[in-house]
Amino acid sequence: MKLLALIEFLRRHLRTVVILCLALLVLLLLVDAVPAIVDKHHAHTKPEHIPGFWAGFGFVACVLIVYVSKWFGHAGIMQREDYYDE
């Protein structure tokens, strides 16, 4: 069961994994700011030329989706599991 060993190895070194992931995120933003690597002539709108535009978009989208949905759910949409039982 090599896969399980790998998962457990990663879990044991969770701190390192998190640090590596954060480093990757920073690298992604840096690379996005270098026109020689990321050619922005494919962009459709002006704001997309700002480095890290889509990173901000992704994060805001995530927060927005979670908060709006939860607000919607708690406004009466979420009910007890036996709601439809008679």
């Binding site: 990321v38 050619d39 459709h44 994060f59 995530c62 989706i65 919607f72």
Partner: protein
């Protein structure tokens, strides 16, 4: 044109009919053979129009094989192999038979060149797939199945009404692009039938209801065929109908919102079908060559990764008996490979670079931007973030990691599923990655020439940023995303509660009126009635009785004979009726095909 054009559905229908008759030791081979033969037949089909039959005053076309129908049939045939392999160990033969009948319905609808043939196979799909829900065998499965059937029958009626009006107006049954700039009532009705099957809100609530309740492998079939056949029909009939763009974008976001609230993993995946089909419907509305290519490519990729996701969650359900996040958690130690395959499905649906969604979804978003509909592009991007949030992160995290909610019994039962389920997931995973890495495989099959390159530095950077920063949001808000043991009311509420109101109406006011009217009769009508009655009694005794007694005796003996043939269980009767219906359809198709020129 050869005399006999073998319809791929026919292979499946014959296979489905013979399967229960085979001895058990031959069944596994049969289960592998028939879908492969069907797929081989689909691949071997030459382009053209076949199986044209003149029936009464109608011209029926069973085989319109062109670029569009070929690619849809290809993926349906492939999914049939994978779905059957996944459920190979299921002993009850009739479960496989209904699944194959369902696929045959889908293939028949895809190859149909006229609206009547389309309708015939369309209904075959609904009436066979309902058994995939009923076979779950829970108390609520029965009610869910009936709701599913009622909704689809309603959609079928709209479709049929549209077809009749269309035939009346044009004198033709040919299934081609409708006048999307000036759609008439017939076109709207037909479109209503289509979008109901595509689960476009507000006609969508049947989907999570049914797919959350179907058997563990039933959902693997259901998630592929109904909605994607509808997408095919929409492309064929309504490409460029602008309202579909709006509806599609609403769908894409609607599914995302409900997925946040959902506690059942398979219902969550079902809401994400709505979201993903939203991309396709929006693309149909855009109607450009790039958009249609995108819709087809996305349907193709979607069938595989969504099948894979349902296989992963189905494996958990099959092994543990649970599908709710509040009953699961921490399973990585018991089912690591199932986790890995589900994660591949999650990365594919989220459109990670090198996975299938990346090369298909982006075509649709690109088409939106190219048509200068910025709102379409940005809102679909927003839905992408939501897709990764739930299917890529929430599903794997709360089943395989997170807080362990497993009961002792659940934990003990949890283990990797049988080899055939693993094999089906492994092959599907491979295909998801293959499509993402080697784009010509999919792009060559698309209906229009492809002038699109997904792997530009900008697109890769854009996608990675959105997805990875969504992941940051996920881990920061993880407390807020903890599953809650609740259900979310959706638009099935009106008919679930409406049904109850109808029963109440039948019980209370109607009964009251009935009693009231009865009372009036008793008081006001009794005296005159008694007099009349006495007079008529004389006539009755002498003349009528003789005749009635004769009839009654005849009916009683007939009833007695029928009673011994009737077993009482409604589903059993339906199964028999359905089986007979299938045989009739089969014979008709066979007959018409053999005698077609």
């Amino acid at each position: 044109m050869s005399d006999l054009w073998l319809h791929p559905s026919l292979i499946l229908l014959l296979g489905a009919l013979l399967l229960p008759l085979l001895p058990e030791r031959l069944r596994k081979g049969w289960l592998l053979l028939i879908p492969i033969l069907t797929f081989a037949r689909i691949v071997a089909l030459a382009k053209g129009t076949f199986g044209v039959v003149h029936f009464l005053q109608f011209t029926l076309t069973f085989g319109r094989v062109d670029a569009l129908s070929s690619v849809f049939a290809y993926i349906m045939g492939l999914m049939c192999i994978l779905g059957t392999l996944y459920g190979l160990h299921v002993k009850r033969a009739v479960e496989h038979s209904v699944a194959w009948t369902y696929v045959a319905g889908s293939l028949g609808a895809i190859f149909a060149g006229d609206l009547l043939t389309l309708f015939l196979f369309w209904e075959l799909m609904a009436f066979s797939s309902v058994f995939l829900i009923w076979f779950r065998g829970r108390e609520q499965s029965l009610a869910t199945g009936y709701r599913y059937l009622l909704v689809h029958v309603a959609g079928g009626v709209a479709l049929l009404a549209g077809i009749i009006l269309h035939y009346h107006a044009t004198g033709s049954l040919a299934f081609n692009l409708f006048d999307v700039h000036h759609p008439d009532l017939a076109a709207w009705l037909i479109m209503t039938g289509f979008i109901l099957n595509a689960a476009v809100p507000p006609l969508h609530a049947w989907l999570p209801d049914a797919y959350g309740e179907a058997t563990f492998n039933g959902s693997v079939f259901m998630c592929a065929f109904t909605t994607k056949t509808a997408v095919y029909a929409l492309i064929r009939g309504f490409a460029g109908l602008e309202i579909l763009t709006v509806l599609g974008v609403i769908m894409a976001l609607y599914g995302v919102v409900y997925a946040v609230l959902e506690n059942d993993s398979r219902r969550l995946l079902a809401y994400h079908i709505i979201s993903q089909v939203g991309y396709m419907v929006a693309a149909v509305g855009l109607g450009t060559e790039l958009a249609i290519n995108g819709a087809v490519a996305h349907a193709f990729a979607h069938i595989l990764y969504k099948g894979l996701l349902f296989m992963g969650c189905g494996s958990v359900l099959f092994m543990t008996g649970k599908s709710k996040f509040t009953d699961l958690g921490g399973l990585y130690a018991k089912m690591p490979w199932t986790f890995a395959f589900t994660l591949i499905g999650g990365l594919s649906i989220s459109a990670f670079p090198l996975f299938s969604g990346f090369v298909s979804k982006s075509m649709i978003v690109q088409a939106g931007f190219e048509e200068h509909k910025l709102w379409v592009g940005f809102l679909l991007m927003l839905a992408s973030a939501g897709t990764f949030l739930h299917t890529g992160l929430k599903v794997p995290y709360f089943i395989w990691f997170g807080k362990n909610h497993c009961a002792k019994e659940t934990w003990e039962r949890a283990a990797e599923p049988p080899w055939n389920m693993i094999a089906a997931m492994a092959v599907t995973s491979f295909l998801c990655i293959f499509i993402g890495c080697y784009t010509p495989y999919l792009y060559r099959m698309l209906p229009y020439p492809v002038d699109y390159e997904p792997y530009t530095s900008y697109h890769v950077s854009e996608t990675l940023q959105i997805l990875l920063f969504t992941a940051v949001g996920f881990f920061l808000l993880i407390k807020k995303l903890e599953p809650e043991a609740k259900i979310s009311l959706d638009l099935d509420w009106p008919y679930r509660i409406g049904g109850r109101a109808f029963l109440w109406l039948a019980k209370k006011p109607v009964q009251f009126i009935d009693t009231f009217v009865g009372e009036i009769y008793r008081v006001g009508g009794l005296v005159p009635l008694m007099v009349t009655a006495r007079l008529s009694a004389v006539f009755d005794n002498s003349v009528i009785d003789g005749a009635v007694d004769g009839f009654a005796n005849a009916f009683r003996s007939l009833g007695g004979r029928l009673r011994s043939a009737q077993r009482g269980a409604l589903q059993e009767s339906l199964t028999v009726a359905f089986g007979l219906g299938a045989v009739l359809v089969l014979l008709l198709v066979l007959f018409l095909n053999v005698f077609a020129r």
